[in-house]
Symmetry: D2
Subunit: 147 residues, 4 copies
Amino acid sequence: MTERWPDLAGRQQGSVHVLPVRVYYEDTDAGGVVYHANYLKFCERARSDCLRILGIHQNSLEDMFFVVRRMTCDFLKPARLDDLLEVETRFIEMAGARLELQQRVMLNGNTQFKALVTVALIDGRGRPKRLPDFMAERLKSFPDSQS
Amino acid sequence: MTERWPDLAGRQQGSVHVLPVRVYYEDTDAGGVVYHANYLKFCERARSDCLRILGIHQNSLEDMFFVVRRMTCDFLKPARLDDLLEVETRFIEMAGARLELQQRVMLNGNTQFKALVTVALIDGRGRPKRLPDFMAERLKSFPDSQS
Amino acid sequence: MTERWPDLAGRQQGSVHVLPVRVYYEDTDAGGVVYHANYLKFCERARSDCLRILGIHQNSLEDMFFVVRRMTCDFLKPARLDDLLEVETRFIEMAGARLELQQRVMLNGNTQFKALVTVALIDGRGRPKRLPDFMAERLKSFPDSQS
Amino acid sequence: MTERWPDLAGRQQGSVHVLPVRVYYEDTDAGGVVYHANYLKFCERARSDCLRILGIHQNSLEDMFFVVRRMTCDFLKPARLDDLLEVETRFIEMAGARLELQQRVMLNGNTQFKALVTVALIDGRGRPKRLPDFMAERLKSFPDSQS
């Protein structure tokens, strides 16, 4: 499948993962712009695809789930129907069961939205779960991430 | 809880269940109207609340799920931000594992959207499951439904 | 309409506005819980209804729009299908074109989600617009808000 | 931009347009599968991109909007988190202000969802608007469409 749609999960460029996101009608609201909560969806798509590119598939993790614990979101400029956005994802830090990421939604080189995101790994009962070694190793392959 | 927010699940009025739905920004798109797929969400809320009023709680059904099999949808007139819609749900027929319903989204007495909906009950493996007697009995309490 | 569905826009209780929100299938994800971005939708519904109760109708504001500038979100505990949530909204401060609010999504007395929200009033060109006097007066009618 | 993300709007393959769609958490529900209304979103993305590839950009149409009038939807099999779907779009007929399309959501060669869709072109007042010649010409470039 990777060959058939080569960039579907975006690209890893040095220390940043870039995912293209087209703005469709479903993403906009009656103000004529992207509905604010949908930037969080774009960021979640980017995190999923970034993990996918690292070989971490969320639907095959046994009894482990990534959940968002905290997001500080700045809605800087509006995006509109048909805009071609790029979501940039950078790993900032990992410690224990937690990951810190910075994400930006770009349009033609401008930042429309940015967020600082704390993600945690939990087990099926909702308890924090230390990142397994194989996962930590792969996340460290991002040049800027610090363990 | 029922007392605290008495009409949260709408009202049964003779053979029709009525659920009020306010149009918020999240429901609209850049065309200034309710995004078409969201009428299906409104209808699903109404079906859930109609079952709830009949004492059928989807999260406590053991190994049973209602799934939508077929919908024929007519998008008749647009609805807009802040509109107060009413979703009308009527049971048409039930047979074996299937329910047929008619749903209408009304605005000030006009029909903005209507759908004919076929819902099936399935088990955890996705196989059709005959409606249990207790459920069939309650659904028959709708004056117009036919078994 | 207010009489027909008396609590549709929630209730003002002292310095807090409370909006009931039922969790439907559309709000959940494959993790079995409310999808994180949907808490922002619940909060936006509550802000809209809080303004509505104060007599401020967003669709009749001439050349004025409320937009979210910043949200700091803590996802504390999961909510699930059929849960009856209550969104609490408190005005913290208003100054110039900006409003600060605190919002909490409650379940049986526990806080599942909380956010600090900065909202701005803008004109059709996206420029900040000072809150008109009539609006500032009504917002001040919340006992705890400070001008 | 087309070069940077070459397949973002899918591909035209003979008489069918194919758009890849990845299933993210936002698309699923607590049943563990894609929420039924979201197939309509996938289809709308595909229609938008199919028009885009034909050089018809919805955000630059003057006083013209495409709206969905009717959809007959069959929900055949469930799709799940991380699935890579392909939305196939075929033009069936165009007449006056109307377009008929057939759409299928495929997974590994199986049809999970199919719909017959009637779309209309309207003006800013919601009145039907005959398809302009340039648009009709481009739509006819689909081998199977009939005028």
